[in-house]
């Protein structure tokens, strides 16, 4: 059953340099208890969508309903059920992580006892115990970000908007946050997440959407995205092939001194034989979500150009 339903959502910013269409006819729905990831390049429209759905921004057109309530017409009915980690937020200068969590919960109406208990629980789960009583200005950027995420996840709000929640965190901290996000969905919360870490989206999300230039390019599971782009296999060569020879078989990418080709199984078999025949080292593996994303968005950009 969908808890979020967006229909033909559009947002145009009007500035001195003319109009910027940040969202263009975006429609999607998210079921209760799902973890939905929004992927896209910088400026693709992810944050704009989150801001509209989280009652922070008015759309130019379209409707977003959360728990059946229109976020534009009835924001007061929606707000008690949501919490949002804003992009690139920073905590209050003088407050400790413990105070952030406790005070935010109490501001939202929690009792002192439940705020204290929940704060202990979330700070421990997110590895913030050693920093719990240090003022934010003494904390590293990653710990400050974890503090903000802890504030929001502590609410157990039925719908959580997480806009790049693990930005600037080390790999250990990211995994701790993932575990708390998973626990939130197990507890019945629905999560809408944006991230530039494609491994994060692959690890966490049950469903994802790719947005480019304000338009929804894809919606479905990560595995289906790989199938959709028609490139299932990644071949890597250390030289020996010209781009012109590889281009008909798929997308050619260059990373340092290696050439990567995203291609089909059949072409991979043919090219592997050819490479071995020429004595060229070749490595074969499945296409990652990041590569499928690059392929999909890359096509969109090429079509626009």
């Amino acid at each position: 059953m969908p808890v979020l339903e967006a229909e033909h959502v559009a947002k145009t910013y009007f500035g001195r340099r003319g109009e910027v269409r940040a969202l263009d006819d975006v429609s999607l729905s998210i079921d209760k208890g799902r973890l939905f990831a929004f992927l896209g390049r910088n400026g693709a429209g992810k944050t704009t969508f989150i801001k509209i759905a989280a009652t922070l921004l008015l759309p130019t057109a379209g409707v977003v309903r959360l728990f059946g309530e229109d976020v534009v017409r009835s924001p007061r009915a929606v707000r008690p059920h949501i919490a949002v980690v804003p992009q690139e937020g920073r905590p209050f200068f003088h407050l400790t992580p413990r105070e952030h969590v406790e005070e935010y919960l109490r501001t939202r109406g929690a009792s002192r006892e439940s705020a204290v208990a929940r704060s202990d629980e979330i700070l421990h789960a997110m590895g913030l115990g050693p920093f719990a009583d240090e003022p934010a200005f003494r904390l590293s950027g990653g710990v400050q970000q974890r503090t903000l995420v802890a504030m929001i996840l502590a609410t157990r709000a039925p719908f959580l908007f997480l806009d790049e929640p693990t930005l600037g965190m080390d790999p250990f901290a990211r995994r701790q946050v993932w575990e708390v996000i998973r626990a939130a969905t197990r507890g019945g919360s629905t999560v809408l997440l944006t991230t530039h870490y494609l491994d994060e989206a692959e690890q966490l999300s049950e469903e994802l959407a790719v947005i480019e230039g304000g338009k929804l390019l894809y919606r479905g599971a990560a595995e289906q995205l790989k199938a959709k782009v028609g490139r299932e296999v990644r071949l890597q060569f250390a030289g020996g092939f010209e781009d012109a020879e590889l281009a008909p078989y798929g997308r050619v990418l260059h990373e340092r001194d290696r050439t990567t080709l995203l291609t089909t199984r059949r072409a991979a078999a043919e090219l592997t034989d050819r490479a071995l025949g020429r004595g060229i080292a070749v490595s074969v593996g499945p296409v990652t979500l990041e590569e499928a994303f690059l392929e999909l968005v890359g096509r969109g950009i090429e079509e626009d150009e």
């Binding site: 801001k51 922070l56 209050f92 105070e99 501001t107």
Partner: protein, 254 residues
């Protein structure tokens, strides 16, 4: 959330945005009284001694008025730079609770400065209990007026660099040019009406009257020389700003 839980939310915001930073960095209060105290010192050095009590009352009002500048700066900073206001927008906290909490936290910073000016006033111009309470009442209405204005303006900023010039211009215009630090009688009678275009003039005239400094009752032009009219106008302006802050402020981005 009920009205009671909204009031509790306002109190929590005052606690963590005002009282906690105040307790951890008391020097922050110096920033609040430095400017009005400098004006007062300047008056003490160059003005006639009989103007000094006006300067002290001016210090009380300036401190109240500049909570609006603090409000404008803090709200815009928390929204644009720290992205913290959106966390409260996307929550059960209503804008009026956020506004009240932020305004109370600004008031917390001014209490030491207000205490200092009231103490000096008691030394140079002893007040009756009624005068003291009346002055405090005017200072509180002035605080409410300026903080609601500060919040309203803060919601229209799109960039941090807009904050400083607009905040300083607005609140300096309200607190330095009108007769806050000097008696209204200094302005030539035909031009006094101009001073009454600034809401802070009503605060100043009422405060001076409350402590017995206003001089002749007809010092203000026309019907404005009635203190009840002055009080009515001040309260009406404050209500207008408060309503504008609640209904016109951009709690959600357009």
């Amino acid at each position: 959330m009920t009205a009671r839980t909204q009031l509790n939310a306002a109190w929590r915001i005052c606690y963590f945005n005002g009282l906690v930073p105040l307790g951890r960095q008391p020097l922050l209060t110096a920033a609040v009284f430095l400017t009005p105290f400098s004006f007062l010192f300047f008056l003490y050095v160059i003005a006639k001694p009989e103007f000094f009590p006006y300067g002290v009352v001016g210090g009380v009002l300036f401190t109240s008025l500049f909570t609006g500048n603090g409000m404008l700066n803090d709200c815009a900073y928390l929204r644009l730079e720290r992205q913290l206001q959106p966390i409260f927008v996307a929550s059960p906290v209503r804008p009026i609770a956020y506004l009240l909490g932020m305004a109370l936290s600004e008031l917390a910073f001014t209490i030491p400065a207000l205490g200092l000016f009231l103490g000096i006033l008691q030394l140079v111009h002893p007040l009756s209990a009624f005068s003291f309470l009346a002055l405090l009442g005017v200072a509180l209405v002035t605080w409410l007026m300026s903080t609601t204005l500060g919040f309203l303006i803060s919601t229209f900023f799109r960039q941090l660099r807009e904050i400083w010039p607009i905040g300083t211009l607005t609140f300096s215009t309200l607190s330095v040019l009108p007769p806050v630090f000097y008696p209204l009688s200094i302005i030539h009678a035909p031009y006094r009406w101009i001073a009454f275009l600034a809401p802070s003039t009503y605060s100043a005239v009422l405060a001076d009257r409350a402590v017995g400094l206003s001089g002749a009752p007809d010092i203000a032009p026309g019907f404005l020389s009635d203190p009840f009219v002055e009080l009515g106008v001040l309260v009406a302006i404050t209500l207008l700003f408060a309503l504008a802050a609640v209904y016109l402020a951009r709690w959600r981005e357009p």
